[in-house]
Symmetry: C2
Subunit: 402 residues, 2 copies
């Protein structure tokens, strides 16, 4: 169970998320709807998107101990789990909190409005039949959701066995996760080309990635140094960033250490990883605020562009020609909006995608620009969000990249 201080942190977290939800529904969603934000950006956010627990995604070759890792962390068996020396987990499994033990198959899961997995329908039923949600009663799962994944195999087996977009699915989960753990087995280090390809596809989520060198107690120390060195050597090559990834060197299951020469190191590393996991909810809230700030800025620029396009349209003759002219000179439109409203260039959408998405709408039917609405957006950014942030103790505010 969690201590009183932790419970209080929890409360802060929940009330911050509630605040965010309200802010979004009252002040941002109406503007999205009025100016058809979903035409050029993503669909409106649902409650489930805000409520989603911080999510930890586990990746690794088969048998490195991914499923055992989750079992160890949540301190109990969970329904549908299989652990064994052969490739065992053949599906994606979200391990979530639930009052009762239950396994929900993927096709059902993808239509549940209260779970954040509806976006997975895009990968088709071939994939959904390889997706499950495991729920059980467990205090730790009240704060965090784990996503277990099928072990990555080397060579042919991979492509033959999988008739869905494996990398695409991985990326989908990576985007939605707060932490991505790459697990390796110190006893049998294997960094296959397949795994390197998956790592490469996670480029955009680099700051979420941590590495676990599991089963580190099963080799003697000189061997451990060689394995660890080889791991860092390869990861340094595979990841383009200069920042070194944090590697947790330990063993994550409930058996005592086999080789206890490094017991102290292993204990500390375990503690460090636990701490990082405990901090997830709080950082998760900061991330959600951060995401909403980004979205609000996009919504504002979107409204300005739509309003500008509308204002250029003639009231009677020559609409089609004018619309074509605006489309052809969209760069000029963007620059005009940028100058008039002092918008940084980074807030503008990708111009080609914007043109492609907006092309078939009748610009003259767009709503006029309402400067009150823009002012309201500015207030959200300048007043409402900082107010929400104030609810947090100060340590991590620098993470808000607004």
């Amino acid at each position: 169970g969690s201590s009183k201080a932790e419970e209080e942190k929890q409360q802060v977290y929940f009330s911050a998320v509630d605040g965010l939800k309200k802010l979004y529904k009252q002040k941002i969603l109406p503007v999205e709807e009025l100016y058809k934000f979903n035409v050029t950006h993503s669909a409106p956010l649902s409650d489930a998107d805000f409520d989603a627990k911080p999510q930890v995604l586990l990746l690794g070759q088969y048998s490195v101990g991914k499923t055992s890792f989750i079992r160890y962390l949540i301190e109990r068996e969970f329904p549908g789990a299989h652990i064994g020396p052969e490739p065992t987990t053949d599906r994606f499994m979200a391990i979530m909190h639930g009052a009762m033990d239950r396994v929900t198959p993927g096709n059902a899961l993808a239509v549940q409005a209260d779970k954040p997995f509806r976006g997975l329908s895009q990968f088709g039923t071939a994939f959904l039949s390889k997706l499950e949600c495991s729920q059980c009663e467990c205090p730790i799962l009240e704060n965090v959701t784990f996503v277990d994944t099928p072990g990555i195999l080397s060579g042919e087996k991979q492509t033959i066995g999988r008739n869905y977009d494996f990398t695409g699915v991985m990326e989908w989960f990576a985007e939605k996760s707060d932490l991505i753990l790459l697990l390796f087995d110190a006893h049998k280090l294997d960094i296959s080309d397949e795994f390197l390809r998956v790592i490469e596809s996670l480029k955009g989520y680099d700051e979420k990635i941590r590495v676990v060198l599991n089963k580190s107690d099963s080799v003697e120390q000189q061997q451990l140094m060689r394995v660890y060195g080889a791991l860092m050597w390869s990861l340094g090559k595979a990841m383009k960033t200069p920042e070194v990834k944090r590697v947790y060197i330990s063993s994550f299951w409930d058996k005592p250490f086999q080789n206890d020469q490094n017991a102290e190191l292993f204990e500390r590393e375990r503690e460090d990883l636990f701490k990082e996991l405990r901090d997830l909810p709080r950082n998760g809230a900061v991330r959600k605020i951060n995401d909403l700030v980004k979205r609000t800025r996009y919504v504002k620029v979107h409204a300005l562009i739509i309003g500008y396009l509308r204002a250029q349209m003639p009231s009677m003759f020559g609409k089609a020609a004018k619309q074509q002219q605006l489309l052809d000179n969209m760069g000029e439109v963007f620059r005009a909006v940028m100058r008039e409203y002092h918008i940084p260039v980074g807030d503008f959408p990708n111009i080609d995608r914007f043109k492609a998405n907006i092309r078939d709408y009748d610009f003259s039917k767009f709503p006029k620009l309402d400067l009150n609405i823009i002012e309201q957006m500015d207030k959200v950014l300048a007043r409402d969000v900082p107010q929400l942030m104030d609810q947090f103790p100060s340590e991590r505010e620098d993470q808000l990249l607004a």
Copy 2:
């Protein structure tokens, strides 16, 4: 002192080198002279080139403990050594065996026929005044020569202080060395851009490079893991090869370990490095044989090309025009030689450099091709070299890349 078995190994080494010298002088040097090999390749080899002890080159940022490392290995002070926490070694210093303590300055060193440093004159007196040879009586130095180098500094200081081609000099030593040790300080890991540039310039000598993580006993274990990981991460990026570099994690001086948590690891790593150094003479002989095999193949091809060019020249009129035509179609010449004598393409010299070097000679004055000489070269490769190789026990024969 060395054991009886080691002394025997020594004998084998010396007699192999003597055999090589004889082979070169009797069968290869005359061909080099006859066909002017030095015009397109390097100058004839001298005794000093064959006699040179296996050489260990030390590189690293300042104060990582390069000079202390040498002092520790040879188990005594050596003349001219300076050790201290500030940048101390400001010159290149060859530490060699000698009956008496003596320091020879670079300008004198570069003219001594019995030392393998004459090639360094090319870097000018500005460099030679930053070169020294330290000699002393010491059994270890009978088997190996060390080259201490000025610590690499970060930032400006580097270029301001040095008015010679630092990277060029490093490369020269790298080519002549049997082992290149990159030293790092676990207590103050610093991998400056300058150092990375030096590492990059050593690309061609990759298989000689080893890494030493020195002063590993001065940090506690978790910190050591972070430092070591960061080192491997950066090295993996800097070195293009997939093979992981061997890193010796220990402390190389005669004080007891500060943090003896990892004493056993440190001891073993030290032993492993000692073993690698002990094996140098033997591997050095293999390398020398290997180099001579390469050279012999180049000499053979060179003779074939020269003889071919000579054969194409008219006996009386139109010499200049024919020579120009041959120069213009050197690719055709190479292909003709390749076909006629079944020479692998890898044995041919760089065509542009060859043309530039041969251009000013009168082809009609070249000696005619003597097929007996070619046959003799083939015998050197097929019979004499294998005979020399047979003097060695079998373990490392796979290193001969003939």
